[in-house]
Structures are given as structure tokens and as C-alpha cells.
């Protein structure tokens, strides 16, 4: 992309992102907006976030199949299977919703029963395995990726609800049972108002609202709001479990409109944290640092000056801005390599949790 085009894109983006007075635009009626940045270069696909979320929120009661946080392999079909082809979101002018589909149970994968009882207590010497036919599940296509040996490629994509600024799930509900919380923009389903119509499940293009067939209501990621309100362990303010329990600590959590915080710097200043599928136009508040991979190698094992993960694939996921984001990161990394100061590299490589999680900045006053 030429510099002129770069500038044009950046100016257009600025128009969208910045209001006249320089404030970060938030959804109407929302005081602040929680946000998360995930650095895909750090994700090792261990699913600790998935399990942290599951043990907190979705272990039982009709939630067995739900993964409010999941980690899927990209390229890959994802969770639920082929969710990117199920519609939802907004059309080009951002005013009409695009029709969406309800996934099938099989697309999520069933919560299998295992033969634990037989093996642990009844002395069976069968291998431990699901007791029913298991032919699909979350991250079933783990590490398959794409490309040909020796230049095959894949990376992991952790996904939670994006707590969007322009959420199509909220718009889809004819009863206003799903709403954006005023204080921090967390999107919640009012379990008393929900009548299980599932328009939100259809309407979310990321398929991050789930129908609970036992309670007959829809449920979703709550951004661990009790934890960020200080109702978590030891009565302290803590980031969502998926972030805090992550072994490589790949997530930053804070407020998009905290202009001194890392989220604002990564998203709005350096513009290296990008939305997944911006073309769905729901304006997610979960952002991703796009992944790098080792360069390609020749058949003889020599390093070749060619990117392993095709740029156009990354553009499909993160939009055209991925180009300048990767260029900025490369530039800043080279600065750090030369021993120069790089605020961006400091933010991305911090091991200080206080820098990563800034959740109490608005506690006084507003």
C-alpha cells in the first residue's frame, strides 16, 4: 500500500474514530466502554482461558455446550463451525441488520460424556474416550491451518463477546432484553425479560450469544462484571478470568476511553490493535494485535523472504488496516532492537499486571 493510500485510510479511520473534540466515541448512553486487546503473537492455544471461563460460568444447567470464551485455530472452521458464514451484523450503511442464521447443535459440538466411571472406578482397561460418536467440537480442526509443508501456517484466535459499540444482538431483540450497560458498555441479557426468541443468537455475527435450552433464555459472556466490580476473589477488582488466568498473559483489559491507558494507545494512537471482521460493522471492543509468523522456508530449509501467513488472509480477518498495523509493529520492533525507546514495544511486552489491567481509573466521579 502506498503512503498516500495509507494516509487516506488513516484519515478516513480518524473520522470514524475521533469525534471533533478528540474524545473516543462511545455508544449512545454509555459512560465508559470496557475493552480488551489480545496479542495473537502470544497465544499458545492452551485453552486455559476457555477452562477459566467455563468453570466460572458455563459448567452446567444447559450451558454444557457453551464456551463464552473459546480459542479456535485459524485458518479453520471455528466455533460454532463456519460461524463466519452465518450472517448477522449490519449492512454497508450500518443501518439495516443483515439476516443471520441459528447454528445447529452439531456446529457447536455436543458436550460428550466420557467413560470416566468405567475406567476410574470399575477397573475397565478401555481407553478414555467419549461414549458417543464424537465427530465435531470446539477447535476440532486444531493446528490443521492451511498451506503446504514446509510452509503451512496457523495461529490461535481466542474469542469472547466483543461487547460491541453498535451491537446487532441488542438491536435484534424485540423486547430490549439484551442491552448495553450504562456504566461500562458491557452487553448483558436480562434473564427476567428474555423469552428465548433467539433473535440475538441469529443477529450476532460472531455467534457469541448462546441459547440455553434448560432455562429457555439466551446467555452470553458478561465480561466477568462481578470481578471488575470487586466482587471476585478476596473482594478485589480483578480483570475477567480469561485474561487473568492466561499463562502467557496476552490480554490487556481496560477502558477504551481511558486516554492514558494501554488500550487507548494500542487502538487509537498506534492503531496496531484491530477489530475482528470490521466489515460486520458492529464495532467490537475486543481488539487483536495481528499475528506474525516465521518467514517461509525453501524445500532445502533455507529461510525465504516471504511471509508465511498470507497478508490477504489477515486482511480477510482484520480488514485493510492490518497492513499499516503490521508495518508499525515492525518499525517499532526494529527501534527496540536498535536499543531505542519504543513505548509500543514496552506496552506489548510488559510483565507488570498493573500496566495490563487498568480497571479502576473511573471509580471516582464519572
Amino acid at each position: 500500500m502506498s503512503k498516500t493510500t495509507d494516509d487516506a485510510v488513516r484519515q478516513a479511520d480518524d473520522a470514524v474514530r475521533q469525534t471533533d473534540d478528540g474524545d473516543v466515541p462511545l455508544a449512545e448512553g454509555v459512560d465508559h466502554q470496557v475493552a480488551m486487546v489480545m496479542d495473537l503473537n502470544k497465544c499458545i492455544g492452551c485453552q486455559t482461558c476457555t477452562i477459566a471461563c467455563k468453570t466460572n460460568w458455563t459448567e452446567s444447567g444447559g450451558r454444557e455446550y457453551m464456551y463464552w470464551n473459546n480459542v479456535e485455530t485459524k485458518p479453520g472452521a471455528g466455533y460454532p463451525r463456519d460461524w463466519e458464514e452465518m450472517g448477522g451484523g449490519w449492512d454497508e450503511d450500518g443501518e439495516s441488520r443483515t439476516p443471520g442464521e441459528l447454528p445447529d447443535e452439531e456446529d457447536y459440538g455436543r458436550a460428550w460424556e466420557f467413560n470416566h466411571e468405567a475406567i476410574m472406578y470399575e477397573g475397565s482397561d478401555e481407553p478414555l474416550r467419549p461414549m458417543e460418536n464424537a465427530d465435531w467440537g470446539p477447535n476440532w480442526d486444531e493446528d490443521e491451518g492451511a498451506g503446504e509443508y514446509p510452509n503451512s501456517y496457523y495461529f490461535y484466535l481466542p474469542r469472547i463477546c466483543n461487547h460491541c459499540t453498535h451491537p446487532s444482538c441488542v438491536e435484534a431483540c424485540p423486547r430490549s432484553a439484551i442491552y448495553k450497560r450504562e456504566e461500562d458498555g458491557i452487553v448483558l441479557v436480562d434473564q427476567d425479560r428474555c423469552r428465548g426468541y433467539r433473535y440475538c443468537v441469529e443477529g450476532c455475527p460472531y455467534k457469541k450469544v448462546f441459547y440455553n435450552a434448560q432455562t429457555k433464555t439466551s446467555e452470553k459472556c458478561i465480561f466477568c462484571y462481578p470481578r471488575i466490580e470487586g466482587e471476585g476473589p478476596e473482594g478485589e477488582v480483578r480483570p475477567p478470568s480469561c485474561a487473568e488466568d492466561c499463562p502467557p498473559q496476552l490480554r490487556h483489559v481496560g477502558f477504551l476511553d481511558d486516554e492514558e491507558g494501554p488500550i487507548h494507545k494500542l487502538v487509537n494512537e498506534y492503531e496496531v490493535a484491530l477489530r475482528l471482521h470490521p466489515e460486520y460493522r458492529t464495532e467490537p471492543n475486543v481488539y487483536y494485535i495481528p499475528p506474525y509468523a516465521p518467514p517461509q522456508t525453501s524445500e532445502s530449509g533455507e529461510t525465504v523472504d516471504a511471509e508465511r501467513i498470507p497478508r490477504n488472509y489477515l486482511e480477510e480477518l482484520f480488514g485493510p488496516e492490518v497492513e499499516s498495523a503490521l508495518n508499525t509493529i515492525t518499525r517499532e520492533r526494529e527501534k527496540a532492537e536498535r536499543g531505542e525507546e519504543s513505548e509500543l514495544m514496552d506496552i506489548l511486552s510488559t510483565v507488570n499486571n498493573d500496566d495490563q489491567y487498568r480497571l479502576e481509573v473511573f471509580d471516582d466521579g464519572s
Binding site: 439476516p99 441459528l102 447454528p103 445447529d104 447443535e105 424485540p174 423486547r175 430490549s176 423469552r195 428465548g196 426468541y197 433467539r198 433473535y199 443468537v201 441469529e202 441459547y211 435450552a213 429457555k216
Partner: protein
């Protein structure tokens, strides 16, 4: 008017025979009487059911009215109520499948029974999987019995009660003041029994006539009450505003079954006019003859 003309024509024919005069008089009197009698009888015979009327048959005891296939329903008049899509602003809001519902109504001194029956080749009685939606039906009544709120779930200042049944989760009593505001009334007094036989659902809704709380329609056995009906076809993923719904009908509970007071007054005036014209004509004939 026909009676008067007939009498007049008869008068012309009777010029040369004074004996016919008294016969004509008798005919005129008989016709006048017939018209007066028709005033009372005609609405009940020729116009037994007014448009949008659901006759409510009073029964001395509940018998098996609560049963969808109860014998007590045999004598109750059936009204075939046409329905169409509400066109609500939800996906598929204009795509519904059920075109009419048969409605029957009966009451005892204590309870109101409504039997709804509609064509549905297969029962969808589960909401246990992501893509399954249950067949459902509802009766909508104004909270304030004498009013007629906007048909689509009423409005903020003119609310509706909804007796809602679905094949998976049973019965709910709901309160709504406009689309999207539906709220469950705790401890519903509405009872339902349903059966799917052949290719039809039959559901009986019943509730005590008297309301036990605020915002629940108090059904006065001496006063008509408006009612509308809706059906959802689960197989077509119908839910929410995607439903086949009727216009407002009324449950004919009041004393003037078969017509309104206004209709009766018109008929009585017509009768009086006919008698008066007949008498004037007869008097005219007499004078012409110089009697």
C-alpha cells in the same frame, strides 16, 4: 314499506266490491302485526351472529368444558376466525402459515372457557434444542374490559392481558402495553388443556370470570368483552411478533345477544313506521270510498 304498498294496491283493486274492504283491512292489520313481531324476532333469526361476535354459551355447570374434546362443547356455536401475519418488525414477521382458528366460548357462573382449534399437521412441542420452537396460541383481552386497545399488544395507556399457551412450556398470563413490553403475571390464574389429534391442535383456555388482582381483565358476565386470537407455528420457527393474528372480536356476554341495542331501536322504529303508514293508507282507502 312493502306492506303499505301492498295494501295500497289492494285498495285500488277493491273499488267495485265493498266486501273486499274489510278483508283488505284484515290483511293490512295482519301485515302490520307481522312487521311488529318481526321487529322483535328478525334480528335473532336472520342475523343470529353479528360480525366479529363470538357467542358465549352459558352452561349451568362446568361439566367437561375444560377438556378439549369435552361433550359439553357439542352445543356451542363455532366461529371461524380468519388470521393473517402481523407484519411485525422481526425477521420473517410477514411469513406465517396458519390462516384461521376456530373459536368457541362458553361460561358458567364462575368461569369463562375458550376453545381454540387450528390446523397443524405436526405438533412441535419442544424448545429443547437451539433450532426448535413450540406451537403456541394466545387470547388477548383488554385490561379494561370495555375498551379496545391497539391490536398489536395494546399501548402504554391501554394495556392488554394475554392468555398464552405453548406446547412445550404450558401456560402463562401476560400483561402488555405495546409491542415488546410483554411481562409475565406471576401465579397465572389461566388454565389450559391441549390436544393434538389428526392434523389439528385443540386448546381450551379457562379462567375465573372475576379477576383477583389489578391489571388482569375482570370479565363481567353481563358485558361484552373484546378478544383477539393468535397462533404460532413452531415448525416455521414462529415466535414473538411472527404470528398469525386475528382482528378484534368480541365475546358476546351482554344481555343483547344477537345484536346491539342500537340495532333493536332501529328495527322498532321501522316497525312503528310501517304500522303508521298502513293505518294512514287504510284510512285513505276508506275516505275514497266515502265510508
Amino acid at each position: 314499506m312493502m306492506a303499505a304498498d301492498d295494501a295500497g294496491i289492494g285498495g285500488d283493486e277493491s273499488d267495485d266490491d265493498s266486501g273486499i274492504g274489510s278483508r283488505e283491512l284484515a290483511v293490512a292489520a295482519a301485515l302490520a302485526l307481522a312487521v311488529v313481531a318481526a321487529t322483535a324476532a328478525f334480528p335473532a333469526v336472520a342475523d343470529a351472529r353479528a360480525a366479529y361476535e363470538i357467542p358465549v354459551e352459558r352452561q349451568s355447570s362446568a361439566g367437561d368444558l375444560a377438556e378439549p374434546t369435552g361433550d359439553a362443547w357439542t352445543s356451542v356455536e363455532t366461529v371461524d376466525v380468519p388470521m393473517s401475519s402481523t407484519g411485525a418488525a422481526v425477521p420473517g414477521g410477514a411469513e406465517t402459515t396458519v390462516e384461521s382458528v376456530r373459536v368457541e366460548a362458553a361460561r358458567t357462573d364462575e368461569r369463562l372457557y375458550l376453545r381454540l382449534s387450528w390446523s397443524d399437521p405436526a405438533a412441535n412441542a419442544s424448545t429443547d434444542s437451539l433450532r426448535s420452537f413450540a406451537d403456541a396460541a394466545a387470547v388477548q383481552l383488554p385490561v379494561s374490559a370495555e375498551s379496545q386497545p391497539p391490536i398489536a399488544m395494546g399501548s402504554t395507556d391501554n394495556r392488554v392481558n394475554v392468555w398464552y399457551w405453548n406446547a412445550a412450556d404450558g401456560t402463562e398470563s401476560l400483561l402488555a402495553g405495546g409491542a415488546g413490553s410483554t411481562t409475565r403475571v406471576p401465579e397465572s390464574a389461566v388454565e389450559t388443556r391441549a390436544t393434538h389429534t389428526g392434523d389439528r391442535w385443540t386448546v381450551v383456555f379457562s379462567r375465573s370470570l372475576a379477576s383477583d388482582r389489578a391489571n388482569v381483565t375482570d370479565v363481567d358476565p353481563d358485558q361484552d368483552v373484546n378478544a383477539a386470537f393468535a397462533v404460532w407455528e413452531g415448525a416455521n420457527e414462529e415466535r414473538s411478533g411472527q404470528k398469525a393474528a386475528s382482528e378484534w372480536y368480541y365475546l358476546s356476554l351482554g344481555p343483547n345477544e344477537g345484536g346491539t341495542i342500537y340495532e333493536t331501536v332501529l328495527w322498532a322504529l321501522a316497525g312503528i313506521a310501517v304500522v303508521f303508514t298502513t293505518l294512514v293508507t287504510v284510512e285513505g282507502v276508506r275516505r275514497t270510498r266515502g265510508e
